[in-house]
Point group: C2
DNA sequence: CGCTGTGTTGATAAGCTTCAAGAGTGGTGG
DNA sequence: CCACCACTCTTGAAGCTTATCAACACAGCG
């Protein structure tokens, strides 16, 4: 189920609406169907990746199949530098996703541009440690929704490109617990479920207080 | 209890036995008594720090006092770059600790040296996410012991500079659970407690299998 | 229009936390 | 040097949160 291989289809190259990396060779946008692998753990690391549309999950597996998603990447976000020589994680397209690949001549030349990205990722990861280590189920989901809302421009209505299973594997919860918490938040009128993957935030303050 | 301020005592400057950062202004070693603050959340970030002796905890707090330690730093390790403009975390000396401060002229100039450190930190943090999100108490403690052993040269006997409370706050467990797991590992003859802060690993394979 | 995958809800169980008491350790002062 | 004291750690009992197992509902798609 995880890390399946599907041929990539090249889309015609077009200007990215997002910030480009200076000095990097911008490749055409590659299309990844839902569930396809972008890179795998153990693979030689090289290029960076920028999401043009769709969403990506980066995760690690335990031997028995337990999965922890360490990050989601939405349109406009850059990923793939969580690697030294080889990748320590898997990256997969969640839904149909367009990704621009940046081939980097030398990591050293790009380091002044990469460092801020790496630091932002480090801060995000360490903040997520607080969520996983010290917050309960409802606090975790609240923090997740606040984060997703912020990354989608702070709008009341947010789109969740990922399944409940993905959310659970990101928050260290089971799919059932995620579902129950959504129901509880709905009962408290903190959120409204417009569709399975579409949520309206009704009481942002309540979520903020919960999420820390 | 956390983040208390105590005057620092300067030790005479001496060559560090550890790798230095090129182009950084090496300061004399500062001495931090047990429990003293090195930097605080919200403070302006600037220098980097290298542990000469002792150990450091880096953590975040929730409003109600729950604490998540995101990393321990032992002798020879560098920290303090988990910041953009201001620090997002607290750093404290665990026991009596000597720290060499590096004042960086410009982050950009140092970026090629800083990037590998940042990436290592990012990988460590994301691996710790797997522990907190998907492993149970005994697996967490096993992973912690394996990590500590590796960072102390892979010896059978390891010194734990931190309290059970610190270990609990690092692993997302209570002090009581940490203590019970230590007892269980002792009963399984996986470890032997030489003192409260000194442990001998008897069955490394068992710990490795548990820790993932 | 049925089928398949995803999500929800319910009942039960497991694991961890909480609350409480007691034991051990290390440091200090007599 | 020993005894006491404070603090940390360990152990026990009970409760709570979340996981697990199971059944059902719903949505999207061929």
């Amino acid at each position: 189920m995880y890390a399946q291989q599907i041929a990539k289809i090249e889309l015609p190259s077009q200007p990215s609406p997002f910030a480009l990396l200076d000095g990097a060779m911008a490749q055409p946008v590659s299309f990844f169907p839902a569930g396809t692998e972008i890179y795998a753990q153990g693979e030689k690391a090289g290029p960076l990746y920028q999401v043009e549309f769709g969403a990506v999950r980066v995760y690690r597996l335990l031997a028995d199949g337990r999965r922890q998603i360490s990050a989601f990447h939405l349109a406009g976000e850059t990923f793939g530098f969580e690697a030294d020589a080889t990748h320590h994680f898997f990256a997969e397209a969640i839904g149909a996703t367009g990704i621009r690949v940046f081939r980097i001549a030398s990591t050293a030349d790009m380091s002044s541009q990469l460092l801020p990205l790496a630091l932002k990722g480090l801060i995000r990861a360490q903040e997520h440690l607080l969520v996983l280590g010290r917050q309960n189920a409802i606090e975790r989901v609240a923090a997740f929704l606040v984060d997703m809302a912020g990354r989608q421009g702070g709008l009341r209505q947010i789109e969740l490109p990922m399944s409940r299973l993905d959310i659970g594997d990101y928050l260290g919860l089971t799919i059932e617990t995620v579902s129950r918490v959504f129901t509880r938040l709905k009962d408290k009128s903190a959120i409204r479920l417009l569709g399975l993957r579409s949520i309206e935030i009704l009481k942002q303050n309540m979520l903020l207080e919960m999420g820390g």
